[in-house]
């Protein structure tokens, strides 16, 4: 009997959809540098204020959560890197730390259920067996150019797939 496989791309799209509730922010899933030939409406995602960049990081086997059977299921932990960037106006006098922490809070809330906490947020629409935030929210230092500041929020998502299906 065919087994429905979780798809890490669909999980990426689920994360994107949840973050789309933050209407003031721009969500970027990186593509090739010169992608801006894709029609007049496309704008290259250069550094901007209130920008969220999502990418897939390392995939790690979690053998303790494998399941025997026919077919057997192997567990993988996929890291989704959610990078938050703030680039406020030079005339903005509000503390960057206050802005950043509010931004982090809003993004974490959006992932875990947008307006209200969703107890099944961690299944990513029944694709994952578990999801958890990474142990560290890394503060990204200013790069010395613009007013850019940010955080990197790692989101660890565990899925079970048949061997070779990832």
């Amino acid at each position: 009997m065919p087994v429905s496989e979780p798809d890490i791309v669909e999980i990426l799209e689920t994360i994107e959809e949840r973050l789309s509730h933050l209407v003031a922010e721009e969500i970027v899933i990186p593509s090739r540098e010169n992608y801006d030939d894709h029609g007049d409406g496309a704008v290259p995602p250069g550094p901007k204020d209130k920008q969220i960049i999502i990418s897939i990081g390392d995939c790690t086997r979690v053998e303790d959560l494998d399941l025997p059977g026919n077919p057997p299921r192997e567990c993988w932990e996929v890291e989704y890197r959610i990078k938050l960037r703030l680039m406020p106006s030079e005339t903005d006098q509000e503390s960057i730390d206050k802005k950043l922490i509010r931004f982090v809070r809003d993004v974490r809330r959006a992932i875990t259920g947008a307006t209200a906490y969703d107890p099944s947020w961690h299944t990513m629409n029944s694709q994952a067996i578990d999801s958890m935030w990474g142990a560290t929210m890394q503060r990204l230092p200013p790069d010395g150019t613009s007013q850019s500041d940010g955080y990197m929020l790692p989101l660890m998502v565990r899925i079970r797939v048949t061997p070779g299906a990832l």
Binding site: N34, D36, S89
Partner: protein
């Protein structure tokens, strides 16, 4: 004529679209826009750490002026953009001004991405 005046006069020659310059659009964070002449150096794409991508870096030379170019006093590094094509002949797109690298009475050099 002082050296100061000479520098200002030379700036408009340097960015002439008949020579090395091209027409670009400067957009402020607040939404106003104007067309100006600039010399654009398209550099090698720079990898952005943690984002799994790279973006072209542009060095843009403009006249120090609030009408024919851009004045450093009006630039907001938190959202002003220049419409630039990452390859000559392609459609220009807004690129964020991320740094003022040089400035004098005649010219302003900007880094965009």
């Amino acid at each position: 004529m002082s050296l100061h005046d000479l520098i200002e006069d030379d700036a408009s020659l340097f960015v002439s679209t008949s020579d090395f310059g091209e027409s670009v659009v400067y957009r402020t964070r607040s939404g106003t826009a104007r067309s100006i002449s600039a010399v654009v150096f398209r550099q090698i794409a720079e990898a952005i750490e943690d984002e799994s991508r790279s973006l072209t870096v542009f060095e843009v030379h403009v006249i120090n002026s609030t009408s024919a170019g851009i004045s450093p006093t009006e630039i907001d590094l938190g959202g002003d953009t220049l419409d630039l094509a990452d390859r000559v002949g392609k459609t220009a797109r807004p690129r964020s001004i991320i740094q003022i690298t040089e400035q004098d009475e005649g010219m302003v050099v900007l880094q965009c991405q």
